[in-house]
């Protein structure tokens, strides 16, 4: 192990070491200063954020190709750190209010984030598997944190069973790809596949198994059925964290693996992705219409957005479009993540002490009771829909543009039409908040509102200067090209 190797995983090491120390410190802190653990967790994330900024512009590999540091990981790792900070902001008050405040929660977030960071710079299929476990196992615990509550336990168990099930698929897939190419290193796979030194049948089976496994994580149809139950049963801050962090991590692995495998297997894989993307958009959006529970609605909306993100893979066969579609997917993740965390923040403000207040009707009258939170929620909904002057519009603009650039106008039109469907249920939220009389039990907490205001302002302000993020996403290139 050289110093270069250590440098390659600097943000992860910082975070892991900090988390381990914090785990011990929490034994004492939880008795005397329970408020300190989340603060220290945020400090750890800030240090890790600084480390990842320190790595910016670097392009190298460590641990003999297990770790790749490139524009791609440089783009995602700070995002993961920020997601972690926002997730802690969302959890702080919520856990106290529900009497499930435990220091371990914040440390588990750190572990999960370090798994996500590793995932974004994984250069080997084994590494992808390991980081997937590292990010998932803490989440199984977090999902069932509201322990005596049955729904929470159910969510944890469901997530655990399906998660391990999909891990099995991933391992099978890795084995198949290993069988097809005699290596698990991504760049070597790329080389061998490019040179024609591989078994096509095993390779296709293997890559489809990998797609299934990661499809579970990002909640793509037909592997989505766990999502609404888990999002509904888990404590809301955990659902918020899952809907953004896990999705981004899953997509980072998908993008990296398939941008390497795709060029040679495009004829076989393009239709697969086409169908999955179309189905995910349609199912997610159509089923979301009939939801009256906001958590379930956001779950289906997160499925639908996975569908939009999957559109980015369809033009992967073409080398010119590929770079654009990776950038478009990353940009979309950013816009989606901000809107999603913001929407969950408002939801957390809405949720009563007994896990009540999650239905659409509970929003009635929010426009009067708390104009700011209603306005913010409107911004999040408009951004989800893709209405101009929100970042979500530019996300869709870029994504649809790339899809059309790749020549898949039909898929782009499906995407646009499902956006119309989504407008219907997102607008219903606005209708409830402003046009319906009612008494809501909304209450702000400083940190929750800070997250919502941050997300809302970012979505609005950055929509006037989207060029900066476009550049940033366009520079997020993958090593090996």
């Amino acid at each position: 192990m050289t110093i270069i190797d250590l440098f390659s995983i600097l943000p992860v090491i910082v975070l892991l070491v900090w988390a381990l120390f914090l785990l011990m410190a929490d034994l004492w802190l939880s008795k005397y200063k329970p408020g300190w653990t989340p603060v220290l967790a945020v400090v750890g994330l800030l240090l890790s954020l600084a480390a990842s900024v320190f790595q910016a512009g670097e392009n190298f590999s460590g641990f003999s190709g297990f770790i790749l540091v490139d524009g791609f990981s440089n783009f995602l790792q700070p995002l993961f750190a920020i997601t972690g900070i926002l997730a802690i902001g969302l959890a702080y008050d919520y856990l106290k209010r529900h009497d499930i405040h435990r220091g371990e929660y914040f440390i588990l977030i750190l572990f999960s984030i370090s798994g996500m960071m590793l995932m974004s710079s994984a250069g080997d299929l084994i590494m992808i598997f390991l980081s997937l476990e590292l990010l998932s196992i803490p989440l199984y615990i977090m999902a069932s944190l509201a322990y005596p509550r049955l729904e929470s336990e159910e969510a944890g168990l469901k997530y655990f069973l399906l998660g391990t099930f999909s891990s099995g698929f991933l391992l099978f897939g890795i084995a198949m790809i290993y069988g097809a190419t005699t290596t698990t290193n991504l760049l070597d796979i790329f080389k061998f596949v490019g040179a024609g030194l591989y078994d096509p049948t095993l390779m296709i089976i293997g890559s489809v198994l990998v797609l299934i496994a990661l499809g579970f994580k990002v909640a793509a149809v037909p592997f989505q059925s766990w999502t609404p139950d888990v999002y509904q049963g888990s404590p809301s801050p955990v659902s918020a964290f899952m809907s953004v962090g896990v999705k981004a991590a899953g997509f980072s692995a998908l993008l990296r693996v398939f941008s390497l495998i795709f060029p040679q297997l495009a004829p076989a894989l393009t239709p697969v992705f086409w169908v999955i993307a179309a189905l995910t958009m349609i199912v997610g959006n159509v089923v979301a219409i009939s939801q009256t529970n906001l958590k379930r609605m956001l779950a289906y909306s997160s499925i639908a957005h996975a569908g939009y993100l999957l559109m980015a893979f369809v033009p992967f066969g073409d080398a010119v479009t590929r770079q654009n579609s990776i950038a478009a997917a990353l940009f979309y993740l950013l816009a989606y993540g901000l809107a999603s965390l913001g929407a969950w923040a408002v939801l957390i403000g809405l949720e009563g002490d007994k896990y009540s207040g999650n239905t659409l009707d509970d929003l009635a009258g929010l426009g009067k009771k708390s104009p700011i939170s209603a306005a913010l929620m409107t911004v999040f909904m408009l951004s989800f829909t893709g209405i101009p002057l929100t970042l979500g519009f530019w996300g869709k603009f870029y994504l649809f543009r790339t899809t059309i650039e790749g020549g898949f106008i039909g898929l782009a039109i499906i995407g646009l039409l499902t956006s119309l469907i989504s407008a219907f249920y997102y607008l219903r939220v606005v209708v409830k908040m402003y046009f319906t009389e009612g008494e809501t039990n909304f209450h702000w907490n400083f940190w929750t509102s800070a997250v919502a205001i941050f997300a809302g302002l970012a979505l609005l302000v950055f929509s006037f200067v989207p060029g900066w993020f476009f550049e940033l996403a366009a520079r997020a290139t993958l090593i090996g090209f």
Partner: protein, 500 residues
């Protein structure tokens, strides 16, 4: 550095929005005056722009171009410009907005702050639509107008306001998403979203033109609205607050017909030629259908709403005559419809404020009770019917003349049937006027109604004066638009002659 008049006109209302947001919700009069004076200053600025405008040129003027950012190699710019076509739309917008705001003095008593903020935002959006020369920028403004209008209907509207607001939003959004696909396709093919670069080149192949005509045309046809895509309009118009209806009918619908002129004709001239008879046919159906349905309405506001469908059928017919007269008449009729229908909605609004009903049966004999109101309403109705000497006549006559002579349509039937629509307009509008103002007073409540106040006369008088002006001396208006229309007509004819 001199300040670009277009930027000034478009974004000046934002200053008003800012002040409105800083004021306390309880200071209702301050809020109203702020909004009114902002709108008046914007109108003044647009008049100042008009004095600087060179009416002899058909080119874009006061152009403003600022690179915004690059997306995958395509530059997207903030590009504004005004020509003889859009300047009339801008003036119509800035003229109607202060009047609409003035009409809300009594009608909007609750949540004044939000109302004024949304109203001024709406003005920015509409002006942006008419002045944008970059397709992405245009799309942003186009979609942006949805949000304030959605809230204006949803928060200050009538009984079924939520239904109407959602329907309005979804219909328009449905149209515009296909337009977005079209915009993206053009941008990818030609590496630019800039309208002036695209329309001068005439690059788009004929089959692609047909598809793109459809994608853009659907968005515009829903906005106009053309039969059979009109069903959002009666609901939105009826449920919107009076000022909202005025702007909706007066300006927002023109965004659709303006879109045809700005995008479909110059960008897809071959497709326009090919599809012109179909578009004209649908327009004629819309004229007759709108008129027939208007006659059957029991609700005054719904009647006026359906009359819009009929009147805008004329505008679309004129545009797709694809000759100088047809297009000129269409543009003038866009202004006329904005004035007449805007005034009609104001009259209906005045009646509703007094009587809290819009059902025709509840009125009758109002002339005896409120003679001044009756006179104003009569002029409004006459201008909408198209009586010679008033504005509607000039527009409709020019359109029909253009349609008769149109070589593209090639049949006198279009104009013939449309002329029948003029007669129908007289039927349903006089029917309405008779039910409202003539005959004996059948309801005792109506005996106590107050005649119009000075403020209300101030709202209606400018519109009616302008209606007389256009009716008696329309030449300045035609002069203003002629060079730009000529350029457009030549462009379309040339493209078509290349095909034949």
């Amino acid at each position: 550095m001199t300040l670009n008049p277009l930027l000034l006109v478009t974004f000046f209302p934002l200053i008003g929005v800012l002040i409105v947001l800083l004021l306390k919700p309880a200071w209702k009069n301050a809020l109203r005056w702020t909004a009114l004076s902002t709108a008046l200053v914007t109108f003044g600025l647009s008049i100042w722009m008009l004095t600087q405008f060179n009416a002899a040129s058909g080119d874009m003027q006061f152009e403003f171009l600022l690179p915004w950012f690059n997306l995958g190699g395509n530059p997207i710019g903030v590009h504004f410009g005004v020509d003889g076509i859009s300047i009339l739309m801008v003036l119509l917008t800035t003229f109607l907005t202060p009047l609409a705001i003035l009409s809300t003095w009594k009608a909007v008593a609750e949540k004044v702050k939000g109302f004024m903020a949304f109203f001024l935002l709406l003005e920015v959006g509409m002006l942006g639509v008419f002045l944008s020369l970059d397709m992405v920028l245009f799309y942003i403004f186009w979609e942006f107008t949805l949000i304030p209008m959605y809230f204006l209907i949803g928060l200050w509207g009538g009984e079924r306001r939520v239904y109407a607001a959602v329907k309005f939003f979804l219909y328009t959004f449905a149209g515009s998403i296909l337009m977005l696909a079209g915009i993206l396709w053009i941008g990818l093919q030609y590496g630019s979203f800039d309208l002036s670069l695209l329309s001068s080149a005439g690059l788009i192949p004929a089959t692609a033109q047909l598809w793109l005509f459809g994608a853009f045309g659907l968005a515009f046809a829903i906005k106009v609205p053309m039969f059979p895509l009109h069903s959002w309009l009666p609901d939105a118009h009826t449920e919107a607050p009076t000022a909202g209806s005025v702007i909706l009918a007066g300006v927002l619908l023109k965004m659709g017909t303006y879109g045809f002129l700005r995008f479909n004709l110059p960008l897809f001239p071959n497709a326009s030629m090919q599809l012109a008879p179909w578009m004209a046919g649908v327009a004629v159906i819309g004229i007759i259908y709108g008129a027939a349905v208007a006659y059957r309405q029991k609700d005054v506001k719904r009647l006026v709403a359906y009359s819009s469908i009929s009147h805008l059928g004329f505008v679309v017919l004129g545009i797709f005559a694809l000759n100088l007269q047809g297009i000129q008449g269409a543009i003038l009729q866009m202004v006329n419809h904005g004035l007449s229908t805007g005034a009609l909605f104001l009259v209906v609004g005045l009646l509703y404020e007094r009587r809290h009903t819009r059902v025709l049966e509840n009125f009758g004999g109002l002339w005896k009770v409120m003679p001044v109101m009756g006179t104003l309403a009569l002029i409004t109705v006459l201008s909408s019917v198209g009586l010679p000497g008033l504005n509607g006549f000039v527009g409709e006559f020019t359109i029909l003349l253009g349609t008769f002579k149109s070589t593209v349509l090639g049949s006198p039937w279009f104009a013939g049937v449309a002329t029948f629509g003029v007669i129908l307009a007289a039927v349903y509008l006089f029917h309405m006027f008779q039910k409202l103002f003539l005959g004996p007073v059948t309801h005792d409540e109506n005996l106590k109604l107050k005649d119009v106040s000075v403020r209300e006369i101030l709202v209606l008088a400018p519109i009616l004066l302008l209606a007389f002006w256009i009716g008696i001396y329309p030449k300045p208006f035609f002069m203003l638009m002629a060079p730009a229309v000529e350029k457009l007509a030549v462009l379309v004819q040339n493209a078509a002659s290349l095909v034949h």
